[in-house]
Amino acid sequence: MSRRVVDLEGKSLSLTNLEKVLYPDCGFTKAHVLEYYRRMGPFILPHLQGRSLTLKRYPQGVTGEFFFEKRCPVHRPPWVQTAEIHRSGGETMTACLVNDLPTLLWVANLASLELHVPLARAGSPGTADAMVFDLDPGEEATILDCARVALILRELLSRLGLASVLKTSGQKGLHVFVPLNRGETTFGDTKRFSRAVAMILEKNYPELVTAKMAKSSRTGRVFINWSQNDGSLTMVCAYSLRARNKPYVSCPLEWRELELLAGRGDPEGFLVLPEEAIARVEAKGDLFREVLERTQHLPHL
């Protein structure tokens, strides 16, 4: 078992099992995962900071067993920052906050390939910083159908005076985020709003969109999962890897790129691998920055 101790920002971190292959289909190892997150550091950290992390760990790689961990692992370096979170039922729990690069790499070293965070920060758990439309294709629908829905959604939101930002889920779907960043906006607000939008889309595009959970209603359609707008749920973070057969990235896209990809009719074009994700941020910067910085107000509520 190989092990290296690195000194990062004055903190000492032990990296282990570096040559372990976590994605057997393409030989992507733990070292590759760590290198990806190291290079992505400056771009992904702003989206993780101050948010309780849900780890999704694959100690034996993507073909092995996985588990969610909402509690911060008890054996952690003293410099890992945490927050006390209140869970339903009254108990409190200690969650990890990925506030710096050493913590990000510590988490990656635990084979938490996927990083999931809530839409609220730990310090203000009732405030929805953004509203999200999680577009999830049902059986026989594809990401191209999601793209169609995303474009209609963007048009609708824009006419309501709301700017929106887009990323791939890293799997088969798309995530449309509407930045809010106002202390008064609650999850009650975002859930009601997104549900109303989802229902109007379903009403007007019944063969393309469904706003209902039941599996049977989803065949051939895109499910707009508005119920993700909830303080107790998490979304995969922008730039996180996914634990599919290959390390696809949940990658922010420009709307213009979406139009081109949709026009080309090529679902594979939406799949972004780590090297490409890094090249993109180095060339274009953080396309998701707006989610953290723009302040918007939900109208008609």
Binding site: T54, F68, V74, H75, H116, L233
Partner: protein
């Protein structure tokens, strides 16, 4: 008298087949308590409640799933779960023999006694029991009983063959995950402590221990049922031995035990 036959199977390894009957080895006698509603003393029922509708759900409307993403489950149908277990057969299939001491006792779960299914195989049964004892081996085996697959160890104790079910390795928490620190101990403390244990050593005689609490509990119930007032006694709480007083406590204990 042992309990009745739970199941019948046949031990198989190499060319050997030994038909056996399984009996339970343990019979627990406990005073049973029910759970009551404090307000009206009504007996409560345990039910599976739907998280969403907050209503009880009957068994035929329950399905199984595995959580793969937050709030998202892959449904596993009943038939599929069964397919994962091997065909129902009566074989207790031994895959390997291991030195008995290699089996961590933490893995041992339930014990069944095995009885030869007919007089004709008494000789083979005894031969197997002797062979396992002489070689200090256990047979690691799998079998399917009532649609569930089991994995266990075939062992001999005295003249009796037993089947112990084994827990799966991933179900047992290792001591290392407790996060205990290593505390330095002085050789003197360890010496005295070891001597103390030797002073307090005894053979294992389980018949010495009876369930006294059971009897006292029975008395409590009778007294309360008669309407007597129950005096509440405070539980005994000991003062923990601090690190700097440890050696002193050990020395005093050794003196007392001698």
């Amino acid at each position: 008298m042992t309990g009745g036959t739970i199941w019948k199977g046949s031990i198989h390894f190499g060319d050997e087949h030994l038909p056996v009957k399984l009996h339970g080895a343990v019979k627990e006698e406990r005073i049973q308590f029910h759970l009551l509603h404090r307000r009206d003393g009504v007996k409560l029922h345990q039910q599976m409640i739907c998280n969403y509708e907050k209503m009880p759900v009957p068994a035929d409307a329950q399905i199984r799933g595995v959580e793969i993403e937050e709030g998202k489950y892959v449904i596993v149908e009943h038939g599929e779960l069964e397919q994962m277990t091997p065909e129902a057969s009566r074989l207790i299939e031994i895959h390997e023999f291991v030195t008995t001491s290699q089996i961590d006792p933490l893995l041992l779960d339930h014990v069944y006694y095995l009885e030869p299914d007919s007089d004709l195989v008494s000789g083979s049964y005894t031969a197997l029991a002797e062979a396992l004892q002489e070689m200090s081996l256990s047979g690691i085996c799998t079998w399917t009983m009532r649609k569930r697959s089991y994995h266990g160890a075939l062992q001999a104790w005295g003249k009796v063959l037993r089947l112990s079910t084994l827990r799966y390795a991933d179900e047992v928490i290792g001591a290392s995950s407790l996060g205990l620190e290593e505390i330095p101990l002085s050789e003197r403390e360890l010496q005295i402590g070891s001597d103390l244990i030797r002073q307090m050593a005894a053979p294992f005689q389980p018949e010495k221990f009876i369930n006294e609490h059971q009897q006292k509990l029975q008395q409590l119930i009778e007294r309360k049922a008669r309407g007597e007032k129950i005096a509440l006694l405070r539980p005994r709480i000991l003062t923990p031995t601090s690190a700097d007083k440890l050696l002193e406590a050990l020395e005093a204990s050794l003196k007392k035990a001698a």
